[in-house]
């Protein structure tokens, strides 16, 4: 047991899964942090990203990795459209955050239903999949499939870039300011609307990328998204809402529980362990692990 726990194989799995969870949670965290929108359609945008990966590869034969910027742009475009059509006016009304949360829950639920079913009508619900980068590489005792390595590299790169963006660029710091204290941000002269648009674009773009990455290893169906919506919410709540770094840490923590705790106990306990840990962490530390980012 101990040598399994210390093995490079498990470490690799934790790395890939953690990076993925962190990436999926990132977009949700940005959108919630800046605008208090409870995007329960988050996983459905991941699904759209997965379909784009599938269709891109099937129709052109080119790696979806190359098309990632396009996928991200597509995701961002959809997000911005929703923002312009629906959310901008809701947010401009200056409503109580609790009301915005409740309304966004409902709005995104409707959006989720529409997206899932339009996709099912367009592509049928038959599962889709393709082969790509499935060579297995050996590094000592650890075996790694090409597409999982690619997922890890892309996810880590984006996460790293995000942290740099948030902490070292003006835009990034404006986003953090907005997350921390909306009114103060406005007073200081930050263009709230523009910052919100950037958040949405980045948020939806990254989740589309994660969907495209997943399409290399999982089957793609119109209703695959919900699982990831749940995972994303668990991640960002554990890490503290709006706390980007917290979300990333929580993503890896979740992966650690999923892999290491399962090794110690049993695979059957996997879901009980994850949701149990989630509930326990919240009860002990109601603002999430690293605390809330806002006042």
């Amino acid at each position: 047991m101990l040598d399994t726990l210390l093995s490079g194989q498990l470490l690799f799995s934790v790395a890939v899964l953690g990076a993925l969870y962190a990436l999926i949670g990132l977009g949700l965290n940005l959108v919630f942090g800046t605008m208090r929108l409870l995007n329960i359609a988050h996983g459905d945008f991941l699904m759209l990203g997965a379909y784009s990966g599938f269709w891109w590869f099937t129709l052109t034969g080119i790696s979806p990795l190359i098309a990632l910027p396009l996928t991200a742009l597509g995701g961002a475009a959809i997000g911005l459209t929703l923002y312009a059509l629906v959310f901008r006016q809701q947010l401009a009304k200056g409503l109580d955050p609790a009301v915005i949360e409740a309304r966004s829950l409902l709005l995104f639920f409707g959006i989720s239903v529409v997206i899932q079913n339009l996709t099912a009508m367009a592509f049928t619900a038959t599962p889709r999949a393709y082969r790509h980068l499935d060579t297995v590489y050996q590094l000592g005792e650890t075996a790694m499939t090409g597409n999982r390595i690619a997922t890890l590299i892309v996810a880590l790169t984006i996460l790293g870039a995000m942290l740099v963006f948030l902490n070292r660029t003006l835009f990034g710091m404006e986003i953090k300011a907005l997350i921390q204290h909306r009114e103060a941000a406005r007073i200081v002269g930050i263009n709230i609307n523009r910052v919100q648009m950037v958040s949405i674009a980045v948020g939806f773009g990254t989740v589309a990328i994660s969907g495209s990455l997943l399409s290399m290893t999982e089957q793609v169906t119109p209703f695959m998204g919900f699982r990831f919506t749940i995972a994303a919410f668990v991640v960002i709540i554990m890490g503290g809402l709006g706390n980007i770094l917290g979300g990333i840490v929580a993503g890896f923590l979740l992966a650690i529980i999923e892999i290491y705790a399962v090794t110690i106990f049993s695979a059957e306990a996997r879901s009980i362990l994850i949701y149990g840990a989630f509930v326990a962490i919240l009860i002990i530390s109601p603002q999430g692990l690293l605390g809330r980012a806002r006042r």
């Binding site: 919630f32 208090r36 409870l38 329960i40 629906v86 809701q90 609790a98 949360e101 409740a102 309304r103 829950l105 409902l106 709005l107 639920f109 409707g110 959006i111 989720s112 239903v113 529409v114 079913n117 339009l118 009508m121 919900f226 749940i230 919410f233 668990v234 709540i237 809402l241 059957e268 306990a269 879901s271 009980i272 949701y275 149990g276 989630f278 509930v279 919240l282 009860i283 109601p286 603002q287 999430g288």
Partner: protein
């Protein structure tokens, strides 16, 4: 009896009784298909009213009512051969209420969106724990033969819907209810003013779980085949919240309107365009939030929340 008392007690009771009788009578006179529609309508009313007792008044949005429902259904499915239905339905409610009571104190310390997602996580936890239990029992799926027919289930459900409506109404006008509303407005202030915040929250939470537990127990009998994954559906929790917000959760009328709206919409769209109806339903929801955010009751009374 004063006019105020008549308005607050007699009228709602009479209206509820009338509504229940109308639904029941109407259903009995039409075919079995419409009886099931009536059953569905009554089910949603019972669920939303109960949800509203806690979430509507305190403002803590709970996505965990699937747990109450699921626990009641699970009890019914597993004990169906041992005990009669009229014992198991209330037992399901008690089980759900007891569970809510046990988790209430740690869970209710959490606020806002954290609370929302926590209730959801709790729901998943219970689901997987029960799945584990079923596997250990070697009974991953169960057959329920000889369950009562639609009419008997309809009777139960209309009774539950009426009970839930009256519960919501009377809690709403009681001192307890006013305390809950105070919690929604400003929890800290309420506490300073002497409202026993924790006790009230716990009580409302537990109370709101009882009827959904019974609803779950009754609905388990609709299906010959029982599987844990089916009764712990996350869509249930989301749909309850959706209908509550559409109907407006200010008082006991909202859930009835919300349920009526959604059920008639589903039935109308299903017949007209079977392929597209979910898409249109989604669009309707979105349109509703954008253009009628105070819910149907808000629309009807022209009131701003």
């Amino acid at each position: 009896m004063t006019q105020m008392q008549a308005k607050q007690i007699l009228v709602p009771v009479a209206l509820t009784a009338l509504g229940a009788a109308a639904l029941y009578g109407g259903a009995l006179n039409t075919g079995p298909y419409w009886q099931v529609v009536a059953l569905t309508l009554a089910m949603w009313i019972a669920l939303i009213q109960s949800w509203s007792v806690f979430s509507g008044l305190t403002g803590y949005i709970s996505l965990g009512h699937a747990v109450a429902y699921g626990l009641g259904a699970y009890l019914m499915a597993t004990q169906f051969r041992e005990y009669p239905v009229w014992v198991l339905v209330p037992a399901g409610g008690l089980l759900a209420g007891a569970f809510a009571l046990i988790v209430a104190i740690p869970v209710l310390r959490i606020r806002g969106p954290y609370f929302v997602i926590l209730t959801f996580g709790l729901s998943e936890l219970v689901k997987f724990a029960l799945l584990r239990l079923e596997t250990a029992l070697g009974a991953s799926s169960r057959l329920l033969f000889g369950a009562p027919g639609t009419v008997e289930l309809l009777t139960w459900m209309i009774a539950l819907a009426a009970a839930a409506t009256l519960l919501r109404h009377f809690v709403g006008i009681s001192r307890f209810g006013r305390g809950l509303i105070a919690i929604r407005e400003d929890e800290t202030a309420a506490e300073t003013l002497g409202v026993p915040v924790t006790r009230y929250k716990v009580l409302a939470f537990a109370l709101s779980a009882v009827i959904p537990g019974m609803v779950g127990a009754v609905m388990a009998l609709r299906s010959t085949y029982f599987e844990v994954l089916q009764v712990f559906s996350p869509t249930l929790s989301f749909t309850i919240v959706t209908m509550a917000i559409i109907g407006g959760s200010g008082d006991a009328r909202g859930p009835v309107l919300g349920a009526l709206f959604l059920v008639s919409l589903s039935e109308g769209l299903r017949g007209a365009s079977p392929q597209l109806y979910l898409v249109l339903l989604g669009i309707c929801l979105i349109a509703f939030v954008l253009f009628a955010p105070n819910g149907l009751t808000g629309l009807l009374s022209g009131r701003r929340k």
